[in-house]
Assembly symmetry: C2
Homo-oligomer: 343 residues x 2
């Protein structure tokens, strides 16, 4: 890796502007959230190319003329809307804020799970603990509190988590079931969404989810509701425990967006323990998003931002990894990589 | 005003990236603060063109290798630093974050005064009250609490306030004292910095500060310490009160970055009451930053961001104005504009 990476070169004047953009970025964030949630972007969008003026926007949204005024003036500066004379039209960035599902999921996650917690980033880096988590509840790490997160945080966390996992499930079904599979061990199976996909895809496959006991309750309930209880098995186990053993007997072990929740040292331990319950024919799948493997700058940027969520909200020591880092840990654990596929 | 204003046109792909940048902007803000305050940017800067690697940065800053890693990867994405191989050098935006006084003042103000409060922007817009102020203390508006703000907020607020007022004082001394002046009425004189400039500039001039009583105490103390007590006069008055009268007798009335703290209706009242104590020869100076009068996009952007601080921290109803808005209020109050100067 010898080439320059990062955003394009900027002039000194542009850099000074960017520095102000960063210095005031919490203003940008909250103003944009309000422009979206109070219906201003939707009203501007509905007005099409003809545009709409501030008076009518105030009437349509129920906000004061003053409130609409400060939001509109700043929104032009940050590129959400365009102004021609006294009329406003939707700009491209505003279009994505309003309509793009990924953007919505990211923004709600930032607001409901991370905004307050991020103020503790410095403290979290000091002692390796997720110091911002206290904004959501009194747990040692986020996973202990996952089933009891307060309202908006819970919804936004799961929407964020599922958005990035669900979209790859279909593709992986084809890969996993290209060979005969009797039983899958889903490590950190969360709410059982992958398990349900497997049950639906193959009428004979069994799935065991190995996870923390409180998560298993949620998964078991959902899977029962979907009518798959008979082929489902719960195995309560904290992969960070040193005593006890992993579930044994599956011919496929599945770790999807799971290892990024742990430190390098922990990942090595998790993989090594997995090796203990594997035989020559067991296949271990590791599905991860690597920031060095992204085609688009925005994707790499989003993954590196997510690392800071792990730092100050989740557990203080995990992150979205560089693929070479994880590759080295896999090698060290004694596993052999048979296939390394980008989607 | 018929031309297009706002940021340059972007492609759809750039707009989608910008939308993610906004969605994750609180991450950008907090990571940048830590990069600055924990000495990472300074260490990268000191390494010059040769750059520095993550290991050495961890040693120099006392942060964990993990902590340095997540910060560096994200900092490359947001343009604070550049990466070549495993070495990091300072990028232009990082240079301004590290060295530019205005950027530092804006960033500290955002962090210490506004960050937490901004989460209440929506509520503030709903009822016209500064709902975020509760993060700093239990006052109806910021001015009531200005002399008792908690530590970092107090320092950052005054540094922000003074940075934008002090830089114009020297220039204005020449203008104000180009005619003979006996007494200046400084309306909303805050900590008395302009008064002290006047005392030092003209050995005969008297200054009366008209402000809330708690502010006057601070100003009086500072002015006494500077040895100007004999020519100084305190006049305690809340300009929003309907009873009582403004101080009468000054030949110059001075309102510097004062009117932006009020709603349009209040400004009209303030100006009209000022007219009552003026005679044919009294000169009223109004110094304001207007977002439509800025040469640079970044300046307009900063002023429109500051409006949202007024919305959710200061008093819920004031803002940085368009010059035409203030001009209309001046005309309505019966005042005549003799001179309208951009700096």
């Amino acid at each position: 890796m010898n080439s320059h990476i990062g955003p394009p070169r900027v002039t000194a004047l542009e850099a000074k502007s960017l520095a102000q953009w960063i210095a005031f970025s919490p203003f940008i964030f909250q103003a944009t959230v309000v422009m979206r949630d109070r219906g201003l972007l939707a009203s501007v969008d509905a007005a099409g190319e003809a545009g709409i003026d501030a008076e009518l926007l105030a009437t349509q949204t129920g906000l004061s003329r003053y409130g609409v005024g400060v939001l509109l003036d700043f929104s032009v500066d940050i590129g959400l809307i365009d102004q021609v004379g006294d009329r406003y039209t939707l700009a491209k960035t505003g279009y994505f804020i309003l309509n793009d599902e990924m953007t919505k999921v990211n923004m709600d996650f930032t607001r409901d799970v991370c905004y307050e917690a991020l103020a503790s980033l410095d403290d979290s880096l000091s002692d390796g603990k997720p110091r911002g988590l206290v904004a959501l509840g009194d747990w040692e790490n986020l996973y202990d509190g996952l089933t009891s997160l307060p309202g908006p945080a819970s919804e936004s966390w799961f929407r964020f988590d599922h958005f990035y996992s669900d979209r790859v499930f279909e593709e992986f079904l084809t890969i996993v079931f290209s060979s005969e599979v009797n039983e899958i061990l889903d490590v950190g199976g969360n709410t059982g969404r992958w398990a349900k996909k497997c049950f639906a895809h193959d009428p004979n496959v069994k799935v065991t989810i190995m996870d923390l006991s409180q998560q298993l309750e949620v998964a078991a309930k959902d899977i029962k509701a979907a009518g798959y209880s008979e082929r489902f098995n719960s195995y309560a186990f904290d992969v960070l425990r040193d005593d006890g053993a992993y579930y044994k007997g599956a011919d496929v072990i599945w770790m999807s967006q799971f290892l990024d929740c742990f430190s390098e040292q922990e990942i090595l331990k998790i993989l090594s323990h997995a090796v203990e319950v594997m035989n020559q024919d067991t296949v271990l799948y590791i599905i991860e998003l690597f920031w060095d493997r992204q085609k688009y700058d925005a994707a790499r940027f989003s993954l590196n931002a997510t690392s800071l969520y792990f730092t100050c909200v989740a557990n203080g020591k995990s992150r979205m990894y560089h693929s070479e880092t994880l590759r080295a840990l896999i090698d060290q654990s004694g596993l052999v990589v048979e296939q390394d596929t980008d989607d």
